[in-house]
Symmetry: C2
Subunit: 321 residues, 2 copies
Amino acid sequence: MVYIGIDIGGTDVKIGLLDEDANILAQGKTPTGVGGSYQDMIGNMADYALKLLSQIGYTLDDVAAVGVGVPGVASNITGVVMRCVNMQWWNIPLREEMQKHIPKPIVIDNDANLAGFAESICGVSADTGSSVFITLGTGVGGGLIINGRPWSGHHSAGGEIGHIIMQIDGEPCTCGRRGCVERYCSATALIRLAKEAAIEHHESTLWSVSDNNLEKLNGKNIFACAMAGDETAVAVFDRYIHYLCLALSSIICLLDPQVIVIGGGLSKDGPFLLNAIQSRIKGYLAFPEVPYAEIKIATLGANAGFIGAALLAKQMLEETV
Amino acid sequence: MVYIGIDIGGTDVKIGLLDEDANILAQGKTPTGVGGSYQDMIGNMADYALKLLSQIGYTLDDVAAVGVGVPGVASNITGVVMRCVNMQWWNIPLREEMQKHIPKPIVIDNDANLAGFAESICGVSADTGSSVFITLGTGVGGGLIINGRPWSGHHSAGGEIGHIIMQIDGEPCTCGRRGCVERYCSATALIRLAKEAAIEHHESTLWSVSDNNLEKLNGKNIFACAMAGDETAVAVFDRYIHYLCLALSSIICLLDPQVIVIGGGLSKDGPFLLNAIQSRIKGYLAFPEVPYAEIKIATLGANAGFIGAALLAKQMLEETV
């Protein structure tokens, strides 16, 4: 049987077909079409999934179940996406609409939860009973695996590491509040720190690496300046690692997982980031004498979302049979 | 059969004997004896438990299992208390030593985890699949119940809500770090805020209620001043509720439990505290349009620790049989 995994993003929908052993049989992507009706958007992604299926010689009869990840709050109990700002979706009956095109069991969840679940099954945190997945990208996402099971929360709204408050009345966040982890630990936050520092330090290579246009700063070129020893970039990187270690120490205090998996855009320069965290995290722990989580870089990359969606579909089916 | 629950505190050890249906057959307390050898301390509490047992006509043969809670980090895998500052215990073989006196299966865990577990079985969060227990006392403790099971962490060091960082480089904490939730949300923090405000406002009833000795301020008399409408005390209380709602919003973002249970000293003025939180928490949520945790006051009071210890002993036995 085949499991369809669908990972809805703000730009593209990534879709993969997995077999019983979690091998990827086919994968591809199609534009999300934000701005269209939800019926058109969901119809388009379902059609694309069915096209992929026929390309490898399968039909709807071969599909066991479907998993769908969304960058927002989605309830698997009701099948409804309650909130998804990127998609401009509020209370969208995703499962019902998708089943018009693919009449199979469908499980839905948050995308970061699914990516974390994928890593815990066939990625860097495989065979661990508990792990916390954290994505460092435009925002900060998270997924929790506890006692071997994904935990999305009672109202399907958990795992939002990016919205833990780490500064009382701090930086304004896109969520309307202030001081969220996302404002200090995302790639967006790193870029903000770098811009502010570059404006103070015209001698910094942060200027040359961005062709004197600070809008071109990104995680990759900021890390490159720091790696090359630029004093301003090193200070920015140190400040960023300080914030990140504070946030990681909060996760360790509260959840004490076996592994913390770091994914998202900034994890692509894995060793540089990981070395910095690993060499400093112990100094940030409340109980430094007690063993604590291993910190690792995610290995499934951009495929993690659809892999996790397909795997959760498989798990759901196994548990209901 | 009888289950012995032992709740070790800095001053007293509370001990209760429970039957199969979680009824308390007997209970009492004995001084902890901090400063003595761990062998003497553990021997004393075991003797006291055995004395309680004989007082109600039972013998060691009637004991099925023992649960022990400690105000620190205790591993049920090794049976060792890794860290317990109040007791001056580091790497103490609690289970091994206790079994010299009570040769029965013994489970050990953190005291707040056990109190939260007790509330989730026979207290205010009974019959819920997920709950977070938070104690507002000298410090801030926590216990997590996820998918119906207590989660103490992979290294037995989880649930430490009090040491989530809520202020970058903030108030110094007893753990050696800065900005921990405990520094803003404990009774100690409330008292600190009240002292600072009273010094600025000599007209406040915070002075009369403490006989002009601010060392006599406590949660109860500060709340009383605020309830009576003293302007300074109301401002202190509002500030405290602001901090507490920020911390609760972080728990909701990350764990999205079905219920949050508030225990500890400050919960004794339950309705006043609870009304303030319930009327304001929605304004602190990242996703205010999504349903969120019910917030309730703990009901088991000071017995929660030994009840949870006995219940976990029972659960352990049921799962190993």
